[in-house]
Every structure is written in C-alpha cells, then in structure tokens.
Amino acid sequence: MGSPDYRSLGLKVGLEIHQQLSTGKLFCSCPCDLSEQVVRRFMRLLRPSQSEMGEIDRAALEEAQKNLRFIYESTPFDCLVEADEEPPHPVSGEAVRTTLMISKMLGAHPVDEIQFMRKIVIDGSNTGGFQRTGLIATDGSLAADGKKISISTICLEEDAARRIKEEGREVVFRIDRLGIPLIEIATGPEIETPEEAKRIAERLGSLLRATRRVRRGIGSIREDLNVSISGGARVEIKGVQELYLLPLYIDNEVRRQSALIEVSRELSKRGISELKPKKIDLSKELAKTKSKVLMKSLGDGGRILGIRLPGFAGLLGPDSDGTRRLGPELAAHARVSGVGGIFHSDELPAYGITEVEVDRVRKELGAGKMDCIVLVAGSNENTEAAIERVIARARQAIKGVPEETRDPMPDGITTYSRPLPGRERMYPETDIPPFTVTQDLMEEIGNQLPEYPEETARRFIEERGLSGEQADALVKSGFDRDFDELVEAEIPPKTAARTLINTIAELEKDGLDTSRLNSEMIKAVLRRQTSGDFAMEAVPMLLGRMIEQGETLEQALNSLDISSVSDSEIERVVESIVREKRDLILERRERSIAPLMGLIMSELRGKADGKKINSILTAKIKSVFE
C-alpha cells in the first residue's frame, strides 16, 4: 500500500513537544534524577473535586469511575513536595530562565507575569490530583524547510510520576520523575505531512538542547501529536518517545480516520442512522463452549452478554488495505470497563468459538446477513458497563470520527485511552507567588543566548576537523557540549566524536540507561585510553559496566579484568593460536584471518588494540603458508 496523499486529505498536525530540564525540580530542591531504589510505598485515593455548580470534568469523571487505588513509590530523589505532604516551594528560577531563553530563540513573547495553574489530572500520575503548569510565552515561530510554522504557546510544567505497573484496581507509580521541569512547546496545526512533523520535532529538540539545560536519555523528550484530516476529528496521541516512529503514528492515524469516515459513509448508505440494540444474556447458548476465555468467565460466575449491531456487518474487521476499523475501537472501550475485550462476527468463528455456536448466537440475537454481533464476557457488573460503552462507541461510528486521546503503542498503532479533557479543569495554584518577567531579565537572557545548533556544527568542522556527518550527529544527539569538554581535556576530537556518537548509541541499543552517563565518566575513561592503558574496544564495556553496576572506572577495570598487555604478550597469544590452527590456515590461507581474529579477541578483548592484533596476526599467518 502506498502513502496516502496527505495534502488532499487535508491532514493537519500540531506538535506538542515536552522536554525535561536538568535544572533541579520545578517546585522543590530535589535533583532531576530517576532511581531504582524504592525507599517506601504509600497508598492514596483521588476523587474529582466538585465545583460549586457540581461540574466535574468528563475526563476526570471517567477516571473516577475506575475507582482506583494508587500506590506511590518514593525514592532518594523525591521529598514531601512530591508526596503531596508539603506545599510547593517558589518556582525554580533556573527553569523559568531556560524557558524564557527558548521562548526568545523561537521569537515568542513572554507574558508579563507568570502564574501557575493546577490542571486537574486524577489518573494517579500526580499525587495532588493536578499538574502544575504555567503559560510562559505565546506567538513565536520556527522556520524549517523554507516554511514558517507558528509556535502558539510555550509552557513550563511539572512532569508526572512514572507508571510502573497496574494490577486490578491498583496502579503503581514512582514519584522520582514527578516535579521534573518540563518545557511544553506547542506548534500551530500547520504541519502537512508526517515527515515534516519529524523534521520540526528534530529542530525543536536541537534548539532545546542548545540551551544545555535539558535532560537526556530515554523518555527525557516526549511528543504529543494533534492529528486531524478533513471530515475527521482532532485526535491527540499522547507521549510518543521515539522520534523515528512519529511519522508512522501520523500515517496510521490518517489511515484510521479515513477508514472510520468510510465506515460512517457506508452506514449512511445502508440507512443506519440510530442504534438501540437489546442486550441479551447468551450464557445459556454458549454454556458448552470450548472457548477458553468464555469458559473462564462462565466458570468464575460471570456471563456472556451480546448485542446485534444492525447494518454493521463487515465494518468491524480490517479493510482491504489491512487498516484496522471499528473492532479495535469497540474493544478498547469495553476494556475500560474491566473486561478483556470483545468478540465480533467479522472475526468469528475463532478463539475456540465454533461456527455452530456463532450461528446459534446470531439466531438468538436475530442477526441478519448485514448485521454484526458483538459479545463480551466477564462479571455481571463489568459486562453490563462494557456493552453500554460498546453501544455508545458504535453510535459515534455513525457520525464518524470521535475526538479523543490515544496512547501510542510500540508497533506504531494507537489505542483509545480517554476522552479529550474538557476546558474547565484549571484553577490557580495559589501556593506559588506569580513570577514577574521584567525587561531587565529579558535583556540579560538575550545577551546569553546559546550558540545555535548550525553554528556549533560549523565550528566542529572548521576547528575540530570533524566530518559534516559527525558534526551533525553530535549536534542532533545533543552531545555537542560533552564533545567540547572532552576536547578541552585533550582527548583527540575523533576519539571523542566516535565515543559520543557510536558508543553511546550501542549502549542504548543494549538497553542501558545512558542518561546516567555524564561527561566526567566519559572523560575519565577516554583519558586512560588515550594514554594507552587499554584499547578503544574496552571503552563501551567499561562505560556499560559503570552505568549498569554503578562502578567507578577502577572497579570496572578490575571486574572486567582489563589491563593493557605488552606487544610481546600479544605476540605470544597470536603465536599459540596460529600454532593450534595450523591446518585451518593452510586450508583457507588469507580467509582464515577472520575466524582466528575472533578467537584471539575473545582472549584479548579490551586489552589490546584490534588493529594491532590484526597486523600481527596477518604477518604470522602469511609466514605459515608462504
């Protein structure tokens, strides 16, 4: 399947980029660090607070209906403020300055007085039941690819707690991340293609990193995408962490909305304008089923509830392109009510439900050829709520695409998470005094603007002799400052660049949290490497050990048994292997270098330079067959 023609579909994308700062937390004096060390746990409940008109936000209400208990894990990197046991301290001046700096870089106008708000969020991710956020600047712009994208708002807010796991009605969060300053930059909905969105996100990311006050590593920058097409609706995809997946999420959302618009057209063609399905208990009809899921629900004293969706036949399963349609949407809504999902006739017979059973159920529900049937299984209470939600979602399908918030999945698709929050959910954070943005302050910041990413790249090429590709990579990955520091410490530029670009990427690929890596660690390792204490090959192993086990360089050297070996020692090892594998060498001649190199490296890895070993080995092999 080819790419859709995004422009003719009227694709509009707005980005909201969230970047963590490394300035210290926003409203207390805790460091901006994450921890695996849980010091204690505590349990809290949250309920929507009532306004005097009895209005409760619809997103808040949906959360409240889940009746959840929140378990919070406290670490050495949080205090009473994050635990909601002490009022917030005045806002971090450093975080505000950084936000004002990026505002200036984007040509946005700061407000005269910053006032922090409480944005009601009761999914447990904030211990207080609200996120503190302030509007810092408005109306900026960003030039990219000869096009101007408007920056509508720049906010400074606190990051939420980390969701660790969910078990039944209990959700576990860790509060180390709570309160880390987060700059939120929102663009106007002027982005027209998925690739353009990625470029804008990259550009914003490198501008943010140029301030040198941002956190790095997994999850330190997150994107929300507002996506709509003509005839569709505004859908917010929240919390995309992998930049490279961004175009895929947008592309899939375009396909999803197009498919749902098509579904709505088809329903209208079939004359379906309203939906009042009767819920029927099908436990008896399916009492003897061999389907494991159904058997389990019935065994637990639950039931199977079914409805007929008239005229919906063929609209729940994927379309001819394989684009998912109503099925996954209905299932996601059902899951909110605590059932595992749904069964629908577009995919049946399957899951151990036989054709005979399907026919029996269709008959019981009075379903004709053009009708679809939907079944849910679970406790009496959950199935009732789930089927009601399925009906409500099916009704929306008649109209088209509903506005909603969706969660990004690792495979590039998204699933329904909750309705778009309403507007009535902010009120002032009275515990924090307003922050006056004076003319003097803005002038001071204006005089301290950082080097722009393209200037940095040019300097690396001209002064440090890097290739254009290397310079770009350093700036894009945000390691430009580390590079400067390493070179100042007399590490050869090429070595420094190679470590920052390749080694760190390799460590990340191995699943290590490289946000724990600091330039001091890298500097220490590269200094010893440069003075010949060990080979370049040892660098990733040492750094990996240092971040994974928290070891010092000396400890890592010890535990990996890395020390430099003399040339004569290398000769000795090579000699013995060559002697051992003489037959292989005679048989394969030059082609024996690769397998023998492997054997030698497993003995000498990190202790000697690979290039040196290679040249000694080549000479020895030649001497064997010549």
Binding site: R44, S51, D112, T436
Partner: protein, 440 residues
C-alpha cells in the same frame, strides 16, 4: 534568581488594579479584551487580583484555561466585552433516609469543606449547611446529616467564646437525637478546641469527633474525604462517649487514628498524619477492616449530656528559653490569673524566673509547669532547680500537654480561684489528660 523583593515592594500597592477595574465597572468573571503595554492583545475573563501581583498587572483567564498577568502600565488598556452571567442559585436539599441514623455536623470554618469556582479559580469554604454536606456527598450513604455552620473562621482566629458556643451546640445536638457529632475544624488549633470541649462536656452520650484536613477539599488528593467519611462511620458504628480527634494515622489514605481530645497534638506543619497522641497510644484506629478501640475508651453515657463551658480569659502560655529575662517574663504574664510555663527538659526555668514564680503565686496567680519536650513528663523532684520551683509554688503537671494545660487552667480558673482548689483540680486527671504509666 528570585523576585521576592520586587513582590514585597509592589504588594503594598497591589490594590490599585482593583480600583482601576472598579472605576471601569469591571469585576472578576467579566470577559475583557486587554492590550498590553507591549501592544499585544489578549481576550479572557478577569480574575481576582493575586496579593503578590504587580500593581499595574491584570490577571485574565485565557480560553485555554491558563491565567496570565498582563502589565497595563504606560500604554496598556482594557475594555469590557461582556459582563459575567449572574450566578444561578443552586439550591439543593439534603435528602433524608428513614432507615439511617442521624449524625450532626457542626462546622467552624476552615477549608475542610470548600469549593472551587473554576470560572474565577477562587476557593471558598462552604457557607451553608447544604454546601458543606454536598462537598462530600458520600456522607449520605452512611447516615442522615443534620448540618449547622456555627462560624466561619480560620482556626488561628478561634477564641474562647467560640469554644463556649461550640460546646453548647454540641450538647444541644446530642440531646436531641443525634448518634454522634462531627466537627470540621482548621487543624492549627484543633487540639485546643478538642481539649476545651473535653473539659466542658460531661456524661457524653455519643462520639464527638473533630476532623481536619491537611490538604484542602478542593484538591482531588484531599484527606478531608476519608477523614469525614471515617468520622461518620465512627459516629454510627462505635460505642464511644468521648471527645476525639480523627485524622490520618500515616501518609496513606486508608489508615486513620482516633486520638483522645486531651492528648492530640499537631506535630507536623503539613503532613496528613500531623496529629499524634502524645505520651500514650492512640485511642483507636479505623481502616478497611473496621473500627478498633483500646479498652480504656469510655462508652456512650445514658441520659443527657451536661455542659459547663466557662473559660477564664486571662491565662498565659509560654515557653521558657535561655536568656529569658525576669523583666520580659514579668511583662508577658502581667495581669494573668494563671500561667502555664513549658519549661526545658523536666520542666525547668532559670533561677531568675523562679523568683518571679514565687511572687506570682504569693499574689494569687496560679503557675503550672509542663515540659516543652512534648514527649515525657515534667518532674520537679529530680534537680534542685525543680525543687526550688516547687518551693516557689509552681504546680507540676506531669505529662499533660502544654496546650491542654492552658485550656484546663482557663476552665478551672473560671470555677475557682482558691489556690488549694486550683492545685487539686489541675493535678486531678479529669479527662485522661495525665497518666502515671508511660510505656516504652
């Protein structure tokens, strides 16, 4: 960087914007269009002025929900777009369920029952009984509520006359059919009020439960909800005839402690579990498993509750500290009919103050001594200082809380001025305020 000094400088002038708005007939809630001094135009709803906002700054709520401060000095201007729609009166009646017991709620103010006005962002305390009940409507699942708003004061502004009124209202409510009485109260002086009710009321027929909240009830995380609901459970489900304080036992939302009124003290400025029973374990606990009470608890009395809630106004409570001069001490107790001194360690004061105690007691002023250590007992027998204090006429109050001692002395002195009688009453354990056994 902080701009505290800038704030302080402008605080005093903060009212100017208010006056300017009033002159234009604009009030909070109205939709306006604002042109900032920088020439940028904003449209939004006028918000109440923050105490720390600049004098020429108007705060408006934008369509996005954010509040921003806009400086109107020099060239800024502001024009009214439309007036706020008048607030619709929202009359709701408290339903009654004949199968449920009736619990009284007598509110004294504070933010335990408060509402957010999302339009202006203001948080205001419940001003009517109905508002108070509907701030935690789940209460009605447990019992019928007979609600009364006695006063609406921050607890630091409570006076002894408020204690008197409250004691009389509690007596009235319990004597007319309520199975318990819940008193929402600001936490700062909640312990004092609890002790005052404890000495004023006798033959108590039902639980009288003081509850506070450390996070105001406009927040989703407020502890008010679980504290109030647990109080209702205690009133309907326990055989208890005492004044108690009910608050979080830990930082968790599902464990609450019941403290005897005379023993409860706020020991943390902000945590949910700020209240502790001092020198004895809590009287009981409430959790998902139900209510557990220590054996020592007093059961519901038969007959009618009696009240005597007179308090002597002229009583002083003060901490001794190194360097406190006789002169300064004398000035601060001038005119007092009774003085509670929280001494250091076992209850000590300096030699110079002992002489002052002596002259006070000779002129008929009662002087009582507690320990400022909070935990442990005063004991004036161990060191010569203590023995000299006793010779000077000081009355040691053992392990009684200083705050409770202050309330008790006020109550005792409203009944008798006879030194021997005062000493006898102060040293007599009336409401569990003193114990002889303190266990490890």
């Amino acid at each position: 960087m902080n701009n505290v000094s800038a704030i302080v400088e402008r605080m005093s002038k903060g009212k100017r914007m208010q006056e300017m708005l009033e002159a234009k007939g604009i009030s909070p809630g109205d939709l306006v269009e604002v042109t900032s001094s920088g020439g940028r135009i904003f449209r939004g709803v006028v918000m109440p002025h923050h105490e720390f906002s600049g004098e020429s700054v108007v705060t408006i709520k934008l369509d996005s929900g954010y509040n921003v401060g806009i400086d109107l000095s020099d060239t800024g201007s502001l024009k009214l777009v439309s007036k706020a729609e008048p607030r619709r009166a929202h009359k709701r009646e408290i339903p009654r369920d004949k199968t449920k017991k009736t619990v009284s709620v007598i509110s004294t103010g504070g933010t335990i029952a408060s509402y957010v006005d999302y339009r202006t962002g203001a948080v205001h305390p419940a001003i009517s009984a109905e508002e108070m009940v509907f701030s935690v409507p789940e209460l009605l699942d447990i019992c019928n509520i007979r609600a009364e708003v006695l006063c609406s004061v921050l607890s630091e502004n409570m006076k002894k006359e408020n204690w008197t009124q409250l004691a009389e209202r509690v007596c009235e409510h319990l004597n007319s059919g309520s199975v318990g009485c819940i008193i929402p109260h600001g936490t700062d002086t909640l312990g004092f009020t609890a002790a005052a009710l404890s000495f004023s009321l006798s033959n108590i027929t039902a639980p009288v439960v003081l509850v506070g909240s450390q996070r105001s009830s406009d927040r989703p995380s407020s502890d008010a909800t679980s504290n109030l609901l647990s109080a209702a459970r205690l009133c309907t489900g326990a055989d208890l005839g005492e004044i108690v304080v009910l608050m979080h036992a830990t930082t968790d939302d599902d464990a609450l402690s019941i403290h005897r009124a005379t023993r409860a003290r706020k020991n943390h400025s902000s945590r949910r579990d700020a209240f502790q029973s001092v020198n004895e374990p809590p009287l009981g606990h409430i959790d998902a498993g139900g209510i557990t009470l220590r054996e020592e608890h007093i059961v519901r009395a038969k007959g009618k509750v009696e009240v005597d809630a007179r308090f002597e106004e002229e009583v002083a409570l003060l901490n001794f500290y190194p360097g406190l001069s006789a002169e300064r001490f004398r000035r601060s107790v001038e005119g007092a009919k009774g003085v509670v001194i929280a001494g250091t360690g076992l209850g000590h004061v300096s030699q110079g103050i002992i002489a002052e105690i002596s002259s006070l007691t000779r002129s008929g002023t009662a002087v009582c001594v507690t320990t400022q250590c909070i935990w442990g007992s005063a004991n004036l027998n161990v060191y010569s200082t203590g023995r000299d204090m006793q010779s000077a006429g000081a009355i040691p109050l053992d392990d009684m809380l200083s705050e409770t001692a202050y309330v008790k002395l006020s109550w005792v002195l409203a009944r008798t001025r006879d030194p021997d009688e005062v000493r006898k009453m102060m040293r007599n354990n009336m409401r569990g305020e003193m114990t002889e056994r303190r266990i490890l």
